[in-house]
Symmetry: none
Subunit: 221 residues, 4 copies
DNA sequence: TATGAATGAGAATTCATTCAT
DNA sequence: GATGAATGAATTCTCATTCAT
């Protein structure tokens, strides 16, 4: 039953998805929906929670393997993420929509983001240790980086999804659809060098010539 | 009048914002709103279009200066972007919300994304030329990178905005709020090294040890 | 099971009392209720009938004693009535509510009123005989007097009940609550002299000076 | 528009009267009803208030004439009351129903009852003065008497109304219907002698033989 | 031109009532 | 015999949208 709700919410948004439609799509009657979940809000909350849990679980599962280098772990997490978003586009869309519905819902999703931030922060910390000399990054900068990473990932996931839909309603995946691996690789290429540099204490600063536009931080050689 | 609509849509979302409220906030009567714009959808579209135009113009303005290195130009574009999002949070929120509404609206926003993709693509092309030997990037990869960049930027903008709101309703900016420059710097640090590498034909590949985890592409030394 | 229904109907009224609540309060399942009584209406009817019967029985019991003067018999009936309404406020409330529901229910209550009218009529007849020379009262006037009596009694019963509730939820009776005897005495004081006059053929007529504002009827001295 | 609501509420009660029906009966659309009165409760409240005001005004008007004896004033009030209830049976029915709907409404009606109590109390006071030697009645007894009077009046009004309806749907009044004057006379006959006695300090006490079953109070001769 | 007044269509939610077990 | 699970039908209320002026 939640499946039908997730699909409806994903396609039409919270307000536009009517309980009639959801019930019909679920193949049950409206009162039954109300029997299980007291209100539309609760139904939405339930959907959000389920999708948050599924997504977090997927990423967690991807990053479970210990003893890998930081980039490998990030890579694993990203592949898991993109695999999940490709497999459950509606679920992800619900999360996306939840962020635009006031406090109680966005809080739920933010909690998830925070979990990701924690994972990423841990990774960066490990990367820093791996890199020998840790340039201590301000907590705020780490938070900003994590948000950048999550935003980039979300955006890429949506892009990949939209690509996979271009092939009309055909069931087989469009050849335009990038695989989870490809998408993850794009993102790794996009960000890993920068993250690694930061770990080493090297950062980009404005006004220095391109090419080698990095300044060694205080801990640089 | 659009201002009132933008504010309302930003605060309550498309569905929850009622035409009554919008008309009242605009200080005109409802029929007048309908006289100028045929329907709620068109009103929303008009808002979206205006905000898209404003945002694109801001970014264009930022990247107008010719003769700069690619990273400087990107930097300029990003600072312009973050300055704009900080200055017009409601407008940006409307765009954000537009993406979660079906076809007609998201198309509008996608158009914007495409404009940005074009800009970024041009930048990357220039960067590649600057770097001497251009590793031809597949059109698809460029598109993906641009989406990653836009997503990261949007996410950071929202993050910066939420930080600036933590200081209650007080008028003065919260000390937690990162400046546009700081935010842009975070994003440059996040992505420039990777983009530059790609321009040189160097890319991250999975399974190679961390630290120097880049493989020179075919055009590498 | 009827007890639960009576309580529920008394507290929330016919419409607001839900079958769920009644079934739960009765400690049985809803289908069982439907097994015994075909519908909510029938359930309500059953409640009304039971309460009517109980009330009439109480009054009958009070007036059973023969050989008393008419006023003593009325007095006995009234004390019985007020004792009953004080003892079963919920039952009385159901009757009260039944009168505000359309035909099928009010008819039931009217039946009760008619029974009371019969009793009162008999009393008045006896009183007339006792008074020696009976002024034949029109059937309609008797009916009107009986309704007045019943209405006054109901109103006083409710008033007494509301007084007894002022003492909060405390179990002990509020000191404000008049006893059944007091209430009955009030009513006797209110109406007996008038009834007695009528039996004697004396009646109040408008336009005669107060104080002795009674005109002897045709059978008067 | 209130007229339609009053009719509907009178006929079906608060819950059973649907806003659809009310709107249709009023010849307007439902949203218009909501435009004028924010909710069903407010609509009901408005009806109740209007009917209370009308009824109180009618009675007030009836008792306006000063300088009359107490019984004449009561008589005038009662005639006005019964004329009003005969003229606006639906309005009265609404008041009747309002008493069974929890606090906010019953309070409204009780307020009216209190106004009547005040009037009656004043009358009784005057009667006592007229009678020369005032037997001070306890405040509680006066309240009880007033409730008895109001209850009797209501009951008679309803009875008169039901009589007037027996003639089917025919437009002309049923010959069974007692006139306001007749009904008022019945009530005066029912209660005035008793009230007058009380004013003189004479009261009925149980256990004394019928006929002259009044004991002179302390102020009696 | 600008609007006060009005509405059609549809939303969430509840409840008396019934099967299948 | 008793019930958990399920629903058809209504109810209150809202809102985008339009005339008549």
């Amino acid at each position: 039953m939640l499946d039908a709700a997730v699909t409806a919410f994903a396609r039409h948004g919270y307000q536009a998805a009517s309980m009639d439609d959801i019930a019909e799509a679920a193949g049950v009657s409206k009162p039954l929906v109300y029997l299980y979940l007291k209100s539309k809000e609760e139904l939405f909350t339930a959907c959000v929670r389920r999708e948050v849990a599924a997504l977090v679980a997927a990423v967690r599962e991807g990053t479970r393997q210990r003893g890998l280098s930081a980039d490998q772990q990030l890579w694993n997490g990203l592949t898991a993420f993109f695999a999940h978003t490709a497999a459950r586009p509606d679920g992800v869309a619900v999360l996306y929509r939840a962020r635009t519905r006031g406090e109680p819902f966005s809080r739920e999703v933010d909690t998830m983001r925070i979990e990701v931030v924690v994972i990423v922060t841990a990774l960066l910390g490990q990367a820093a240790r791996d890199a020998g000399c840790a340039g201590k990054l301000a907590e705020r900068e780490v938070s900003g980086l994590a948000h950048a990473l999550v935003g980039a990932a979300e955006s890429l996931a949506e892009w990949a999804d939209s690509r996979s839909r271009t092939g009309l309603s055909g069931a087989e995946p469009s050849p335009d659809a990038p695989s989870a691996n490809e998408t993850a690789a794009t993102l790794m290429n996009f960000c890993w060098a920068g993250l690694e540099n930061l770990m080493k204490g090297a950062r980009w600063v404005p006004g220095v010539g391109s090419g080698s536009a990095v300044a060694r931080g205080p801990h640089g050689p």
